[in-house]
Point group: C2
Chain length 231, copies 2
């Protein structure tokens, strides 16, 4: 089966299954049912069975899936059966936080280096990972055949950074810069725009407040109508 046929929404669910399986295996759980996977993930058991059958993982009826076997299968499909080498461009606060987090908590990636242009941070180490001058990025990307980059630079230099890393072989970018970035076909850019996330959330908090005040108002009106009836 060609990996290109898998839809984006399925791809987003696979790492969720993987995390659940990692937790189960840590607790020595050998078998998991689609129902249990459903409770842990929030996806329907039917959806999960469909996803997994699609990847050739078949559960045993009435018992479930072998956790270790299913995990191995998922690692291969996602491409995590070997550690993925990644780089971080931008070693400010967010870049540092992401570098630390992945260095300490993500067993599936190896951060080869972080890059920055600020002389104040160049030469520093983040959990043993060196911050190098951005000029050295092309050399490092080629040397280690790096395909994945995290970008946490300011919006106005993000496109230039993307151009440079793509030119040297990067094909997948997780972008935290609040900017619309362009890349040639075949290069994947995922935007993780925290301001946009926060603002759309604020919309819901406002709407919720309005809704509550409308509900309260409704209750008040009902109450005063009741009082009118009593008079």
């Amino acid at each position: 089966m060609s990996s290109r046929n898998i839809s984006k929404t399925v791809i987003k669910r696979l790492p969720v299954y993987l995390r659940i399986l990692d937790n189960l295996i840590r607790r020595d759980v050998e078998i998991v049912s689609s129902r249990e996977l459903s409770l842990e993930s929030g996806f329907s058991a039917e959806q999960i069975r469909k996803d997994l059958t699609y990847f050739g993982a078949f559960g045993t009826r009435g018992t479930g899936y072998n956790t270790v076997f299913l995990r191995e299968k998922l690692l291969k499909i996602i491409g995590l059966d070997q550690k993925t080498k990644i780089i971080v461009i931008g070693a400010g606060h967010l870049g540092t936080a992401l570098t630390r987090y992945n260095a300490l908590k993500n067993p599936y990636v190896e951060i080869v280096a972080a890059f920055d242009r600020d002389l104040q941070v160049i030469g520093q180490k983040i959990c043993g990972i060196e911050v190098l001058p951005f000029d050295q990025a092309p050399e490092i990307i080629r040397k280690h055949n790096i395909k994945v980059a995290l970008i946490t630079v300011p919006a106005d230099s993000a496109q230039e950074v993307v151009d440079k890393v793509v030119e040297n072989g990067v094909t997948a970018i997780l972008n935290f810069a609040p900017a619309k970035l362009h890349a040639p076909e075949g290069v994947h850019i995922h935007n993780s725009d925290l301001t946009i996330e926060l603002q759309s959330l604020i919309y819901y908090s406002t709407a919720e407040e309005e809704r509550l005040s409308r509900l309260k108002q409704g209750a008040e009106e009902e109450k005063s109508q009741k009082m009118l009836k009593l008079e």
Copy 2:
């Protein structure tokens, strides 16, 4: 028009329009066409016109939208016409990065306080914002009528934190903890799971590499077939 009728995908586009308008206004641009908005946002001009008509913003045919007017309109719809008071729970590296970023770069929110349980960080200030003991969160939430919280605590304490802040009035949560969280109806939780993002991106980088190697293999085969023909 009730704000409850707007779909989630539209809500996600509004802050994008807002950011573009902010940039245009900074450059003293008074009028913007749906075509220009399309170029900047990546959404189709048709989609943009539809979204904006929906909110009662009508452009002038052949010219476009008044940037200042449209921005005011969007601020009201999203609920950003007044600064939104938010809190950050978890003042580790990610929490600190998010606090700093919003304090310095996000004019639409006011971070009232950050909270942590670690005595090493309690009492510190992040861009003038104090890190308080988590025990004080209920009091602060009630006092400032806070509806929005950013959560960057470890996965195993995330649910407890959600329960506590929701109990005290928070209705919208941006969660960075790698955990599936539960909240009563009416509370919105947006999950920003950076590991899941990264892993699904790795899938694409692998698939891309495979695709390239298949293409290369195909080219090699074609080449050797040509050579066979030459013989």
